[in-house]
Symmetry: C2
Subunit: 315 residues, 2 copies
Amino acid sequence: MTRSVASLVARARAGDARSVARLISLVEDGSPALGEVAAAFAPFAGQAQVVGLTGAPGVGKSTTTNELVRALRAAGRRVGVLAVDPASPFSGGAILGDRIRMQEHAGDPGVYIRSMSTRGQLGGLAAATPQAVRVLEGAGCDVILVETVGVGQAEVEIAQLADTTLVLLAPGMGDAIQAVKAGILEIADVFVINKADRPGADHTYRDIQGMLALGERAPGEWRPQVVRAVAVRREGIDEVVAAIDKHRHWLTDSGALRTGREQRAAVEVEAIALGTLRARMGSLRDGTPLSALAARVARGELDPYAAAEELLKTL
Amino acid sequence: MTRSVASLVARARAGDARSVARLISLVEDGSPALGEVAAAFAPFAGQAQVVGLTGAPGVGKSTTTNELVRALRAAGRRVGVLAVDPASPFSGGAILGDRIRMQEHAGDPGVYIRSMSTRGQLGGLAAATPQAVRVLEGAGCDVILVETVGVGQAEVEIAQLADTTLVLLAPGMGDAIQAVKAGILEIADVFVINKADRPGADHTYRDIQGMLALGERAPGEWRPQVVRAVAVRREGIDEVVAAIDKHRHWLTDSGALRTGREQRAAVEVEAIALGTLRARMGSLRDGTPLSALAARVARGELDPYAAAEELLKTL
């Protein structure tokens, strides 16, 4: 390990917020030191509960995260927050702006808050976020909240790397059932119906409960919890924390924690390996053979599958 | 080539809509016959102009597409439409619902309309959509409109596979400048300000023109066009078609068509190659070595980068 990385790691382990921030920047930038950082933090893997938090724009994700941080801190737990920007040209920047609301925790040494953009990162969210989680784990966080906006594939990737996934809904957004139909039943461990003081909240609650009642579960399998909250008024937040804790106990007792984390590690290792391969192919792009193969495909002399096969032979 | 694929290809070439649909289904499902289909259509590569069409939800993408189809048909051109669903659990289904509005073209033998979901597809949008484009090209389309909602990475991938990219904006959505800042200046060849009869349309128009004026362009480089339209009233549609045609001429005259298509082929070949590698790794997931490596990572005995290196040695 290089001296600078070793010293950053030692200071992060001792709780130095600036060193934590520097290490996460190395991760975000795809630094060549990534491997070193990961190796240094490997022994502390699995010490924190990783809680994913996702939902459509406007459901109140950052307010809810903010209140969860407050409640977890009141219970004496060290908390990390990663706000992950899926880096759409259309949504880009919106999440970062919301971070301002979390400034109230800025002076608390028991909280690390960090926004991350994965734009251009090899392997995307799947490769970069787990490394940042490792850093926060090594820095002693008990709970790590990973927040992302529910667009694109991001929320599925969040679910893959979280121990516990919260899906936020709000009444009157007209998409509760559509969202449920479209697959979030499978990723949510806890549904939070935020803005539950608004008209339609009971309807949304019943809809979700109704959908959950339809799903078949094996004995001992987790049944997603549904919690009503009004985050801006701090209502229902303790109930959300209780649901997270309940899920954690179930994970441990059922053995799902271990198998889930092995699966997560498999996804992570695979993403890193694919990133490496992609980088190798990319470096070929300007010379032979990829550019030569591509020119033949563009001229209609070769089909892209045959070209891909040729390309793989050169790796 | 198997007999069934050969016969489908022959019938699609002769303009049979059901065979075109069957072939696109093979593509969408990631059929093992993909390579065969691609090989059969390779000689017809590059005959159509591929026009990407993207924008945030609510800007009027499907109405605009519908009116573009009508205008292109009136000019005697054969048109293919691919509505690509980026397969978010949160947006899933919305695009397919919108297709209903295009029913009016259902009886026209000069129009192929197809919704595609890329959920779970190896290599995602980047791998599947170009194959569907090839099928439509082989079936004799002159223009292929590829429409996708502007969330996640999808619109960047659309721009990569299109000859000409239209970005739709609407006044009063409050995100014109933010969208521009966030990177769509680089992907748009034509901006369409739809709903241009609404308050704020002039403001949006001036904002976009102002941003474009700031960008530096080399002599002969394309300057993105900005067109105002009210698609529901069929206003400005001819101007959009004229901008598309103008861009097509520029592409041909400048040589950008050839280099763009070679680049596109490179991206496509790379995506297919990565999909193949991913499938190979995935098949290892249940046995050694990926699962064994993942278990060691989960236990903190190995870091994921070292594990990825081990994994690559097994490929």
